[in-house]
Amino acid sequence: MSGEKVRCHPTVIVENSLKTFSSVVVFLILLVAAIDTSAILSILVLSLVALLLFNYRQWKRTTIQFNEIDVVVERDTLFQMKKTLPYAKMASVNVNRDIPNRLFGTSKLLININSGTSAMVPEAVLTFEQDVAERLRFEMSQRLYDHAISLDEEETIESLATFTPLDVIIHGLFSVSTYQTILGAAFLAYSAFELYISTVAGVQAGGGAMASLLMFVGIQIMPSISLILRYYNYKVYRRGDTVYLQHGLIRTYRTSFSVSRINAVRIKSTLPARLLGRSCIEAEVVGLVSEGGKSSRPVLCLLKDDTTQHRILRELVPEFVYERDPNKQPEGAKRVLLIRAAVASLVVAAVMLVPSVYVYREVAALTRVIGTPGVVLQYVLPLVTALAVLAIIYAAHVSYRVTEFDAGEDLFTFVNGAVDRETVVMNYDKVQMVWITQGPIARFFGVSRGSVYMLSSTGSSSISSGYFPGNLLNSVNKIVMDRIISGKYDYRKNSI
């Protein structure tokens, strides 16, 4: 930690060159039929020399500085780079060894920053001699891990509410996005249409019917079954500041996390769930990666009746409950939404034109389909198009009506979604960045959209608002800054 500039171990030149060289070999194998085989050896030697020279230059011009408060990685090549990694923002420092490292007696020092853009890959991978890497890791760990972590996950969990197998099945069937359900239904309808045509026309159904049926299973049935298996025997409880989740039929999940790590809470209801008077709660929690490397957004409550959902929300995460004073979208937003709906309707009509004519002609050519079924089949696509246009315009109207924004003292909320509705309650102290965007039409009507960026369970994510006056959305910026400047924001209470 002296601050002097050091380089990686020189074996990275060989390691990196061999890695790329293997790709060159594969490429040449693919091209072996097209090129002169006598030239292959020369190409291989030349490419290896070129790679060694290139990687030597990269190694020579890349330096690392381990300072008192940060690590600086600097590369002075054609594409210059300088990375500054403060210890306070690091999530972890690990040492890995693969086969080349074992051959050369080196180790890789992997530095992870708790950042959305580098959630899946380390921010810096530095190769050093094994003992040097271990020493650096030890010294850096002293700066990172200076407090104890105690988790008591083995305790039996008592659920805040009872989730029966029927609740789990309803969650599996109706928590899937409505758009996904509509798409699945469209494939099912096409499959049925093909089967009907083949029955009345007396011809064998083509592969299209089976493919559509498989698509329906893939889009609609499989996700539902997967959700049912995942959330079977669901339990949720809070003890102290820790939330515990337990669920799963074949593979069981035991999850626990501190409430302070929740960045946002989402109350979601798809259209079918809303018709049943149900909604579910999800949380944005960072760092809950499953064994398979998959990130998941924890569900705090399966689809339950609204009364139970409200109770669970108050008992489980009271930190995300406050008295709301929502703002509705202004009149300008309605015009923007209607113009967008008109454009979308035109696109849908244009896209459906050719298929409509095709189906009309095909059905007209089928002499066995007569009477009402024949007429319905001939006009089915124009009818569907007309319904889709009506649905788009209605959705724009509903979107205008339901979209809300409100900025409380510690929390703020976006409500969005004409079809699948989502109420997202966010903590100002978890906001990383705010973008306020204004397209040409929105500019004409004096409204903007806001996007709040925060670290989520799937890396970084942005949550967008509806159309509101720019100064209203800017209040999020203002409150975030005020909290930082006034000292109301306490970095020790926040996970990021």
């Binding site: 300088k82 923002k89 999530a91 920053i113 700066r143 204004q438 970084s460 994510s461 400047i485």
Partner: protein, 191 residues
């Protein structure tokens, strides 16, 4: 912790203050960099069009003429955009770095206003490609836990200066935290 908010990064050779609100403008050389980048992209688009025109007649059949007209329309729209976009981008681009926030406003058709609190900055990176190197320009990418924000086309000295100043601000903030937390070092994020 409390910061005053003077605008920093005031010494770019050609960058000027836009209005009296402390916002900075880009160097006009950014337009040259954009024109060169766009010209390369347009050349690729043109090559694709020529390939389409030469080899697709048989494949497209009766739709050939329609596709040709559509491709020409796309080329014409792209050309208009390429000619008009850099001056608009230059005219609209504003950035401001104070002791507590980075504020960037830019856009050609869609105008964006980005605000990044310094407190949330994880990493600052200065980068430049070959075209920018040729013109002495560079980009400063500011990474937070929730994503990136970039200040494009700064003069390289200015970019380095902005990055150093941001790093100093972050360093000062972290030092303050260490000094006000005597019992422990700042814990790792996510712990």
């Amino acid at each position: 912790m409390s910061f005053s908010s003077p605008a920093i990064g005031q010494s770019g050779a050609d960058e000027g203050v836009a209005g009296g609100d402390g916002y900075r403008r880009l160097n006009p050389k950014c337009m040259i960099s954009m024109y060169i980048g766009y010209a390369i992209s347009y050349a690729v688009l043109l090559a694709a069009y020529l390939l389409l025109r030469t080899y697709s007649q048989e494949f497209l059949g009766s739709s050939y003429d329609l596709v040709q007209y559509a491709a020409l329309a796309v080329l014409a729209i792209a050309l208009v955009y390429i000619v008009a976009a850099p001056p608009v981008y230059y005219a609209r681009y504003r950035y401001q770095i104070t002791a507590d926030k980075v504020d960037v406003r830019y856009g050609i058709l869609v105008i964006r206003h980005i605000l990044v609190p310094i407190e949330r900055v994880h990493q600052v990176e200065v980068s430049r490609g070959p075209i920018d190197t040729m013109l002495g320009l560079g980009d400063v990418t500011i990474t937070t836990a929730g994503g990136d924000a970039t200040i494009n086309y700064l003069e390289i000295e200015e970019a380095e200066k902005v990055a150093d100043q941001l790093n100093n601000l972050i360093g000062r903030m972290l030092q303050e935290r260490v000094s006000t937390t005597p019992t422990s070092h700042p814990g790792p994020a996510g712990e």
